[in-house]
Subunit: 466 residues, 2 copies
């Protein structure tokens, strides 16, 4: 069975289901069951989050799921942005609660009352924490696995700093962290500053990492927010400065979610199913014994190989009895295992194994004396090549255009200049029925606003986002 | 500052707060914030769960938090047991939900509708899955950190089997798993079968691992439930047998929670604070440089030691500048780090370090050439000794008694024979205002029921449980 990727939406849904990442039949719309293979993939990503954020001076915590209405409503823009999409707990048993509880849609309003207790003086700063939790949004739009769901597996870091400058430094560090994560997941991205009407509710400004799916639509896969003192004023998070005066702290956050899995599925997969980046694949090497004859000998050798590789790679031996090697090839290709190792009687005679790359389907025979090094090299190449191919493909979906008409006609992503005024911005969005995805953080050249013709350095991407 | 453990309840609350495990000031009663140190401890335990359950053939999954009322209400005993203590989500945004959602108090009713889709034939059995999630109970009794809270960090495994015999085999395997976990946490326990009126709602029978806290009250720290076909009938989990007929599957579960942390705190701690078992301590060895003179030299040496130990142990160098060594000793003793390594100018001259056990406060000097082996040995001794001391202490709190009067007077745990009849059982509980904690799984001797005098092999423990 093949999964033609041309019809992307259908392909996406089918591959997720067929490859065993999740089961979508859970009886609440927009909530799915993570199956062992999908959950292991998500957990590998989580573990990398833990590693990289710890290296960058963050500590992991856990804040409660339920937030009292009274705390939730302290920051005006924030509540306005979320109140239509939160789940409310109103009863404990048969008893109506005195104070209703919000099921966290994100954790600012759970954390910041505690920050105001924790932070007393400059010696308590900077504070850098993160948590990996599920958040909940009562989505009214069409749901789509990993991309728009009602229970979202979520990463959030929150920092507090003495000065605006230090919080800006943190934003830069967050971008460095993001670059490492994108590398690990082999995901290409555009770094943009969101428009004022599209920033996070309560933020001073928001930065998005946006990728482009094969459908030509953009997907926001990470967001970094600068709050400055917007929340600290609302939650009274003050500290004693060295000069004896008090000031409110400056805050930033960094959010990512299971959307990263959606991006990996959509961007790397092909007509045969998933292709997972070796760095985070639950299984890096699958061993398939070719057991047409001398069955026991081959199986024994396969087990020996599994043993030898175990210390170096995440390896799995498919020793299922009632499946042909051909069926197993198909199965592990669908699941996107980066490298397949075949061992048959002929290979044993020759003291070799056969290695097959999932991404290029290239096949090569390797001597047993050097196969650990070779596998290691191949996994590195696969990781690098996946990233390069995806980068090239993403860039090919971006077109520099000169008119509103061209934006409308472009099924993928348009690149134009925009003066930055709300008036021209809304005009672009209304006339094209698309969105300004954000202002490029990397462009420094000048151009003319596509609406008013004024000169500007704001180069923007315009597309239909997920 | 000392924490006298004589007044256990007060000691327990103070030590948890002072040692930085959690912050109890979160503005919802019975929900607390896990601080980095406490969360790392919990996560180390979780990682061990993952390892041991995977070794025993279980796979990790994740099921949604919210359960439709319609699914929740399918098993009559189960719903009766839980309906007064679940949180209800009734609104999404401002919209009342068509079907109310339960915030999971445990996941039978989330999982089993999916089991009925997954399990088709005997080839799909056994099914063994687990998840590590938080569960929610609207506790009306007094809350107590880790022991009785409204948001509970929870482990649950669920299995399905073709025959009753195989599900009984799973129960025995669950007990084997539990023994490994208790070993890892250095926790002593009594294995008991719960009375019929105290079993899990919906279970055929329940087995509890019960430990005894220094207060003399028992704490249930693990439960293993045999459901047989109680849930599979309610949820239609049927499979095709090899003979072509259909049958309902037989199910078991195994649950544990953050109560394990409560037990570790309560059982192992002393007047100086926590004592954490080396196997799961976030920090196994803390290095404290003794920096009265030659500060830079000593710090450099301490860093070298940290580097050398890092590959072998979870190690932390306390290089804080404005604290005395004495303050640091106090601080890490409070946090329960099993082993302290001191390095000062004199130690450097002699090519040695000083090691201090947290549990016995024993101090010894060790040559640098052999210190890795020595630390390794010491951590093993600490783990073993903690377990042995705790076991001995627990056993000393159990008293064989002969009359209802003696049970009433005993401030700790009483051991008596009980014929097994509900009548005699309720009589014991009502007259003593205590509970039958359960029937010993290990006793095979005969005795006479303390109420009716009939001969029986049911030896029971009676106490006030948490």
């Amino acid at each position: 069975m093949e999964f033609p990727k041309e019809n992307f939406s259908e392909w996406y849904n089918e591959v997720i289901e067929a490859s065993g990442l999740v089961d979508k039949r859970y009886p609440v719309k927009g909530m799915h069951v993570w199956l062992p293979y999908g959950w292991q993939l998500m957990r590998n990503i989580d573990e990398y989050f833990r590693r990289v954020f710890t290296e960058h001076g963050h500590q992991e915590v856990y804040f409660p799921l339920l937030i009292p209405e009274t705390e939730f409503k302290k920051e005006a823009e924030h509540i306005a942005g979320f109140e239509n999409e939160v789940y409310w707990v109103t009863h404990g048993g048969l008893t109506p609660l005195d104070v209703k509880l919000v099921v966290r849609p994100t954790s600012e309003t759970a954390m910041y009352p505690m920050f105001s207790l924790w932070i007393r003086s400059h010696a308590d700063l900077p504070l850098r924490i993160f948590q990996i939790v599920n958040v909940f949004r009562y989505e009214t739009k069409q749901t789509r696995t990993f991309i728009r769901v009602r229970e979202v597996h979520f990463f959030e870091s929150h920092t507090a700093h003495a000065t605006a400058e230090e919080s800006e430094e943190q934003i830069r560090d967050n971008i460095e962290i993001w670059k490492k994560i994108a590398e690990k997941l082999a995901l290409p991205y555009l770094l943009v500053r969101k428009t004022d009407w599209d920033k996070f509710p309560g933020a001073a400004y928001s930065i998005g990492a946006e990728t482009i799916m094969p459908s030509g639509r953009t997907l926001q896969i990470a967001t970094i927010h600068q709050y400055f003192q917007n929340f600290s004023r609302a939650y009274g998070i003050e500290y004693l400065k060295e000069d004896g005066t008090h000031d409110f702290v400056h805050q930033t956050t960094f959010g990512m979610s299971e959307r990263l899995v959606g991006a990996i599925v959509g961007i790397h997969g092909d007509d045969r199913g998933l292709i997972l980046p070796p760095e985070i694949a639950p299984i890096q090497v699958v061993i398939v014994p070719i057991v047409t004859k001398k069955k026991e000998d081959v199986l024994e050798e396969a087990r020996k190989i599994e043993e030898e590789l175990r210390g170096f790679f995440r390896v799995h031996l498919d020793d299922r009895d009632n499946y042909t090697p051909g069926y197993k090839f198909y199965d592990w290709e669908l699941k996107g295992v980066p490298l397949r190792l075949e061992i048959g009687p002929r290979d044993m005679e020759r003291g070799q194994v056969v290695l097959v790359r999932r991404d290029t389907r290239e096949k090569l025979s390797v001597k047993r004396e050097e196969y650990i090094d070779k596998i290691s090299e191949l996994l590195q190449s696969i990781q690098r090549d996946m990233r390069d191919r995806a980068e090239k493909e993403m860039m090919s979906r971006i077109k520099r255009v000169e008119s509103i008409e061209e934006i409308k006609e472009n099924g993928e992503v348009s690149m134009v200049y925009w003066c930055g005024s709300e008036e021209c911005g809304h005009r672009i969005e209304d006339d094209t029925e698309k969105k300004i995805i954000g202002i490029s953080l990397e462009n420094h050249e000048l151009g003319k606003c596509i609406v008013c013709g004024r000169e500007t350095d704001k180069m923007v991407y315009i597309a239909k986002p997920y």
